[in-house]
């Protein structure tokens, strides 16, 4: 920059593009993917009622969305049997995480997360000048004891935990999460990312008073509701904290069709139940494919399965690269020892057929490599 320098925090951030989408990989290779199994998207798709509602509203896209998100917020409040003042809707969990970090973290303050957990949260913490302290996973799961200990030691403002976990698919009982709240040091807020909650067993979901000021929960329409491209997420938390978002959020930032589609999706409980059944079957199928290739699928409470490739991270990275060359988009954990796994999203039969066909070839090539 010859003329204008960046502000100090952005100036300190890496200039590289931090996220690579599958479309970029396709453009680089010149070949579209046959199966898109890398982003935990839900290929079973959105409720037909959501599609219908979006289609019906398409010609009205000339109107800004209601900045208050009134209808969706009230429907979510009824869904969770809480007051609407406990809910903030935003542009996906990613957007809400950025706002939450900005709202609560002063530059230089510390945040605790697990080494290998959701990178977008870390991106936002760095992006607002926060300091990240990472604790290791334990038995392929985030470690509540280690998170709490680190929060106490480092006076963490925020403690991030995803339950169920991404990228491993593991989960803790809700009672364990609730117990964390009593152990959390004064001044720390638990950021409980429940993006995959709808796929998890009921016992994984803690019972938390929405006014409890020790925790904020994050939910999304991107996973179980099959609307990742719509960008609708929501936070549940104490009224004062939720109201704080209004000080800084982009009030007219929501897409109007997304708002309308999410409302219709929420009202289609049957589709959600059917999605859950299909995801469960797809998890079993991925496990069977893994087993047929001498690999081990880890238990999952999400719409993806971590498949242990049975060797060091370098081998799993070769498997992933070979799969990509065969038209299969998957991703994998970035940190050892979880990086012995590849992470495969649940999907309809044709995509899993393609994965089943490609996996033995990819393994064979990776073993030769």
């Amino acid at each position: 920059m010859t003329r204008l320098r960046f502000a100090p925090i952005p100036a300190s951030l890496p200039a590289t593009v931090p996220f690579t989408g599958p479309e970029t990989l396709e453009r680089r290779s010149g070949t579209p993917f046959v199966a898109r199994l890398g982003a935990n998207e839900n290929g079973f798709g959105p409720s037909p009622r959501a599609v219908e509602a979006m289609v019906r509203s398409a010609t009205e896209i000339w109107k800004y969305a209601d900045p208050d998100n009134h209808d969706l917020r009230h429907a979510l409040a009824a869904h969770h049997a809480i007051a609407p003042e406990h809910i903030m809707i935003g542009e996906g969990i990613d957007g809400l995480l950025g706002l939450l970090v900005r709202l609560t973290l002063a530059p230089g303050e510390t945040v605790v997360t697990s080494d290998g957990a959701y990178p977008t949260f870390n991106y936002h913490v760095a992006g607002f000048g926060g300091h990240l302290h990472k604790v290791p996973y334990r038995n392929d799961a985030e470690d509540p004891d280690a998170l709490i200990a680190a929060a106490r030691e480092h006076f963490a403002r925020l403690v991030y935990l995803a339950n169920p976990d991404n990228p491993m698919g593991s989960w803790h009982p809700g009672s364990r999460i609730a117990a964390m709240l009593d152990q959390l040091p004064q001044g720390s807020l638990l950021v409980l990312d429940e993006a995959y909650a709808e796929f998890a067993p009921n016992e994984a979901i803690p019972r938390i008073d929405p006014q409890d000021d020790r925790v904020i929960r994050l939910r999304t329409f991107s996973k179980a509701y099959g609307m990742a491209g719509a960008r609708v997420g929501y936070a549940i938390g104490p009224v004062d904290l939720i109201a704080g978002f209004d000080r800084i959020r982009n009030h007219f930032g929501m897409n109007r069709m997304a708002q309308i589609g999410a409302l219709a999706a929420l009202q289609d409980g049957e589709w959600l139940a059917e999605t859950r059944r299909q995801v469960t079957a797809a998890r079993d199928r991925i496990a069977a494919i893994a087993q047929a290739n001498g690999l081990t699928a880890l238990p999952s409470a999400t719409n993806f399965v971590a498949v242990d490739c049975g060797a060091e991270g370098d081998f799993a990275r070769r498997v992933l690269a070979e799969l990509a060359g065969l038209g299969i988009f998957v991703r994998m954990p970035g940190v050892a020892p979880m990086d012995r796994c590849i992470r495969v999203s649940c999907a309809p039969a044709p995509e899993l057929d393609a994965f089943a066909e490609a996996l033995p070839k990819a393994l064979s090539r990776a073993r030769q490599g």
Copy 2:
């Protein structure tokens, strides 16, 4: 907040909700508006090709959007005959303004704008701890000389100017804007908001080298393209500055249907031309309605018209309130002497018919008030 305090900057911000949408007003009054003429939305609507593209892609909303915005970015580059590296796509101009402020402004640094200009820009400046210096309008237009003088005096990092202007509809020749760049102090960046550029005469659009590091331009699909609810805007600027957005933006923040719809809208030049004709006719119609009521419509290079109500701000505020009571949603400038006007968005005939019917009643009631 008993437990968690906000970070210092958000803690210093007002707790009130800064923006009130028409839906909130409707819920308060219990009556839907008959004519939505307050947000400069484009009721002539989006291109049917954009609608068709969005409808066709609705079932694929389970996919995240391409975080690189490749196809739309390249189409915009071709449209403007510049390299795609000069373009950053984001969630409307509002979203891009927030990112720009965050990217360039350190807390406590100064920004110059006009008193009465776009409030969302001011919201973002305050939201990132910036200091706002405002200069008065001159003859119902933003005053380039005053902006430049203030930028020099206060070492402004950013200088905001909308051309054509909102809320007055006035415009400066592009040559005047280009001349500002040579007068701009070292270290200042001109933020040139061209949200209404497609409605303006060609002479209003400056010819600027996209690599010129003294200016960033902002455009949108919300106005002429009739897609306000989609949330698609873009910035044009020097490569280093544009690349800076990648350090902080929400990479997976775009709605996938919006991306696809905007691309189709861009390719429908005929619809845009027809929209321009309809907007021009609607401007004339609003002026005629004003004249028939003894009021003066100000010249406009946008899709709205500032109508001078011929008295102090208090009278215009009463007219606005009476119009709302009659089902007509309009807004008005917030600062004297521009607040003698109400601001009426161009719209199809039925909405302007309703405005024409309501205005004499509203004026009469306001005069009695």
